[in-house]
């Protein structure tokens, strides 16, 4: 595979990497994983100098897949060195970003790929304990995790003196209990400690003071799944996939108004247009595209006019949005953008941890305003009031959720202000003529 200037030409030849095993029978079993080259990367890594592994990661260009896109090699390097310090790896399976359903699929269908990534990560940073934090609602995935970890112990890939390397790693599973904010790493640590999942002030970052005050590396499932492949096939191979600043494969969760919703693994930089129309089969019912949320609910909405954008960190940031988790929510022309903003605001209002006032009160105020605008009870000046609230929340909160919750509102007003104004002046929905066709689309009719 070679680096391409125009990644759009590339996706058709792309061979899945992270999802290469998931369609095999018994793909979740360790025997299946071992038959197809599983744990060879760990075998190799355990003979490598940790510094060399970090060098591999940095050269690969891997950036975190959980939403923030932080360079993984740098994060590992932040972990303090020295065998006398107890260190911890936390495996973030708290996938909660609306629109995202990729990590659940990896865990249910190929968990050993992740365990191998955890093993390599723990060895590299010198951690002897790994805790999986899994979303409480993932009943099936919890079972998969527990079974896979037991299998790894049986095969000597977890526990004492793994593969005669002298390295030991204990791994266990901990369930969350329903809180979006626990996907934020410091809130997750609080939850693991048995507390309310309220984020901690950073710094200190978890890599210096994390779980029980110990240096802690928190990584997302998809990020960890990339690790064995980088070790096995080399950083240059990985860096040749994708764009200049966004390297490697990415699993895009596509949902909403497409013919074939689902998870699709593609090179970073594949155009949004190709993903929607080629990969996910286009929009049903002959409707036109209206807008897309490109990276999960907390990334700003982009209008249909931006359809040719390559799905990469740098391009989406430049377009005023973000890659986030790579969760693409597709909306056709029948969708009311006031309702979209309202629905997403309801989510963030419900999930605000309540710790700091701008988020707790601001999210409720935004929801109230959007509800009244939606219901035709809006007042002149409501849009300005919304934008004022947005300004008061963005960057003013304890954790990044404040910025997340204003993104859908601000971007909906920015691109579809006429719909908000129509609701205010006409007390009706601009797309209401189209709303009758919704019934046809409705899957449950």
């Amino acid at each position: 595979m070679t680096a391409v200037d125009d990644p759009r030409s590339d996706f058709r030849d792309f061979q899945p990497i992270l999802t290469q095993n998931i369609h095999r029978p018994d793909s979740e079993r360790i025997t299946t994983y071992l038959e197809h080259g599983g744990y060879q990367a760990a075998r190799k890594a355990l003979t490598m100098e940790p510094g060399k592994i970090i060098d591999y990661l940095k050269r690969s260009g891997l950036r975190g897949r959980g939403g923030a896109g932080f360079p993984t090699g740098n994060k590992w390097e932040f972990m303090p060195q020295g065998d006398d310090i107890q260190k911890i790896v936390v495996v973030n399976t708290d996938e909660g970003e609306p629109g995202t359903f990729k990590d659940r699929e990896i865990v249910e269908r190929d968990p050993h790929q992740v365990i191998e990534g955890v093993l390599i990560a723990a060895y590299t940073v010198g951690a002897n304990k790994a805790y999986v934090y899994i979303r409480g609602e993932f009943f099936q995935a919890v079972k998969c995790w527990i079974k896979a970890i037991a299998e790894a112990y049986e095969h000597g890939l977890l526990g004492e003196n793994i593969l005669d390397s002298g390295f030991s790693l204990e791994m266990s599973v901990h369930r969350g209990a329903g809180a979006y904010i626990c996907g934020e790493e410091t809130a997750m640590l609080e939850s693991l400690e048995g507390n309310r999942g309220e984020p901690r002030l950073k710094p200190p970052y978890p890599t210096s003071s994390g779980l029980f005050g110990l240096p802690t590396l928190v990584q997302n499932i998809e990020t960890l799944a990339c690790i064995p492949h980088i070790i096995k096939r080399g950083p240059e191979w990985f860096a040749a996939i994708g764009t200049k600043e966004s390297k490697g494969p990415k699993i895009f969760s596509v949902s909403g108004h497409v013919n074939r919703p689902g998870n699709y693994e593609l090179p970073l930089g594949t155009s949004l247009k190709d993903i929607i129309y080629q990969v996910a089969g286009g929009i049903p019912g002959g409707y036109r595209l209206k807008a897309v949320i490109p990276g999960g609910a907390s990334t700003p909405i982009i209008p249909a006019s931006n359809i040719n954008i390559p799905m990469a960190f740098e391009t989406l940031e430049k377009a005023g949005s973000g890659l986030g988790t790579g969760a693409i929510i597709v909306m056709n022309e029948t969708v009311c953008m006031v309702e979209v903003a309202r629905r997403l605001s309801k989510f963030f209002c419900h999930e605000s941890c309540g710790h700091c006032p701008p988020c707790r009160i601001g999210s409720q105020r935004i929801l109230d305003l959007l509800t009244r605008i939606k219901n035709g009870q809006g007042k002149v000046g409501d849009i300005e009031l919304l934008l004022d609230l947005v300004k008061g929340i963005d960057g003013q909160t304890f954790c990044p959720m404040g910025s997340a919750l204003v993104n859908p509102v601000r971007s909906a007003i920015k691109h579809f202000r006429n719909e908000f104004e129509f609701h205010l002046t006409e007390k009706a929905c601009l797309v209401s003529d189209l709303s009758t066709v919704k019934e046809e689309l409705c899957l449950i009719s």
């Binding site: 609306p98 409480g136 209990a177 596509v254 949902s255 909403g256 919703p261 629905r343 941890c353």
Partner: protein, 146 residues
């Protein structure tokens, strides 16, 4: 890690166990967890009340949780599905049927956006729901076939 920290770290798991045994987290259940882990009942309740999966009020045998996320809404689920179930069961979200069999709730995104509309009943996920499949499902549950 000191002993107290270890005890506290068991709290979420203990609450799940207590909820399974008592059906919901009654004061008695909270009390029992606090004794077992040597934590104050206030601490236990504080943690429990933060998480949506811990029920501080009783629930029916079947806890129906309909996703109202954006993707489910776009796929014709969410409100439409809630209304359908409200008509079917005669209860609004947050309510339990008189026979104590069903509780209806709306929940936020349950990571089944690719197979929306989705809902959860107790610890089972149901995807790609249609009017027909929901009706059949509820009938089966009413007859106790599941």
């Amino acid at each position: 890690m000191v002993a107290h920290q270890k005890q506290k770290a068991r709290l979420l798991a203990a609450l799940f166990l207590a909820q399974e045994q008592y059906g919901w987290l009654s004061s008695e259940a909270i009390e029992r967890v606090s004794e077992r882990l040597s934590l104050s009942p206030g601490k236990v309740r504080s943690t429990a009340s933060f998480y949506s999966m811990f029920n501080l009020t009783p629930r029916g045998d079947y806890h129906i949780q309909v996703c109202e996320g954006l993707s489910c809404y776009l796929a014709g689920g969410a409100d439409t599905l809630v209304n359908f179930l409200t008509n079917l069961l005669g209860i609004k979200p947050g309510e339990t049927t008189l026979d104590g069999k069903f509780t209806l709730d709306v929940v936020q995104c349950i990571a089944a956006c690719g197979s929306a509309p989705a809902l959860r009943i107790n610890d089972e996920l149901y995807e790609n729901m249609t009017r027909e499949s929901i009706t059949n499902l509820i009938e089966e549950l009413q007859e106790g076939n599941r």
